[in-house]
Point group: C2
Chain length 213, copies 2
DNA sequence: CAATATGTTAGTCATTTGTCTAAGTCAATT
DNA sequence: AATTGACTTAGACAAATGACTAACATATTG
């Protein structure tokens, strides 16, 4: 298959094929032969590169989660207003559905429910995700003047994390009812918070707002 | 196995065994032989009663969702204050985790991602769930004096539905961080809404509040 | 060029899989 | 007690599975 390059290439070909099959048929229906066929490679190579299907799935998970965290970090670290980060994040909901990212992600989760080894890594990813979002939420909530006594940052982050997962789960099941209303409600709320913030800033010296353009 | 009773008994024995295996090993690791062993029944009976594993899973899903919807309906139809319904619903989050209900439920969902036939039924259950919750939320939000223009009932129901699913998903992966804070935040909020309601009622004639005890 | 490490192929192996059948058991009805 | 029908059993079958190996090809290095 991948003659010109080093060992890494064929390995990636297998991981790519595995991701495609996760989208198409789910983890339970992936066999060594099916994987080899999808990768356009020989059956024996699966054993040569990964040793077993179990190890292959671990590699798929590692590569996938690395990319996921990197993207998440990049998005929230960008120097743009919070509402734009939010909209970018919500945009991924649609984008990732079409690309099959979410199917891969949730197939790996379902696989991990029955493999303690994988669960550990999943939990780790989730912790990094929460940490990243928390870093963005803390300052944003302060800017917006939200009462973090009544609405702790940890609670808000947990709310966002869970309802995001729920939305994805719904969509994988073909359900979209209520999603648009929900996202619109939140967006409207953020817009009102932005407006309130701007008025407040104006109240105590508007040199900050006007000095920019 | 189940000699004394009619055909129904052995069938239920298989369905019970299937649920137990869904909890223990997941749908992907259930084979006809393993199922028969778990049920303490003969291998051939699987074919006799269900024809195939596919059909068996359909029966498991049907029985399970029927019970789920019935419970949900009963809970929200009870003539108690909304906050009590809410607390009962949140109580199920812990209860169902211990009993394995959530594992069964999500294994069936994961199975359905790759079986259009099952997806249909899942979506149907979800619609009934939303309908039931909406019936309880509409009146409650009105009582609490929430602005349903800014916070549409459909959006709030979708929020609750999705974050619930997300919490369950987290817990199946062994993650519980932030959940307590989130549930506490919501509970506090509901308590404050209850108080506000009581004060408002007092303001416009307190015969309603005092005439009770 | 020879030697060596790396990558690939075709094919084998023992198990396990889902499905199906023919023979058997047993209780209720006639 | 014989017959009927529902229920159960042991066993068989082809097909598919994961794991593995010995031989071959290729590229890299000395």
């Amino acid at each position: 298959m991948a003659k010109p390059d080093n060992r890494n290439t064929t390995e990636q070909v297998f991981l790519d094929a595995a991701e495609r099959l996760l989208v198409e048929v789910g983890y339970a229906n992936i066999t060594t032969r099916r994987l080899a066929e999808e990768a356009g490679a020989n059956l024996g190579l699966v054993h040569y590169y990964f040793g077993s299907m179990e190890q292959l799935f671990i590699r798929v998970l590692e590569r996938f989660t690395d990319r996921l965290i990197e993207r998440q970090r990049g998005m929230y670290a960008a120097p743009v207003p919070f509402i734009e980060k939010w909209r970018a994040a919500m945009g991924y909901l649609d984008e990732d559905l079409g690309s099959g990212y979410q199917k891969i992600w949730f197939e790996l989760q379902a696989l991990a429910w029955n493999r303690p080894e994988l669960r550990e890594r999943l939990a780790h990813v989730r912790r990094q995700w929460v940490a990243t979002v928390t870093e963005a939420f803390g300052p944003a909530m302060e800017e917006y003047g939200l009462d973090t006594e009544r609405f702790p940052v940890a609670a808000m982050v947990a709310l966002v994390a869970t309802f995001n997962e729920g939305i994805i789960l719904d969509r994988l099941g073909g359900v979209t009812e209520g999603h648009a209303e929900l996202l619109e409600m939140i967006d409207n709320w953020l817009v009102s918070l932005e407006e309130r913030k701007r008025e407040k800033n104006k109240g105590m010296g508007d040199d900050h707002a006007s000095a920019h353009s």
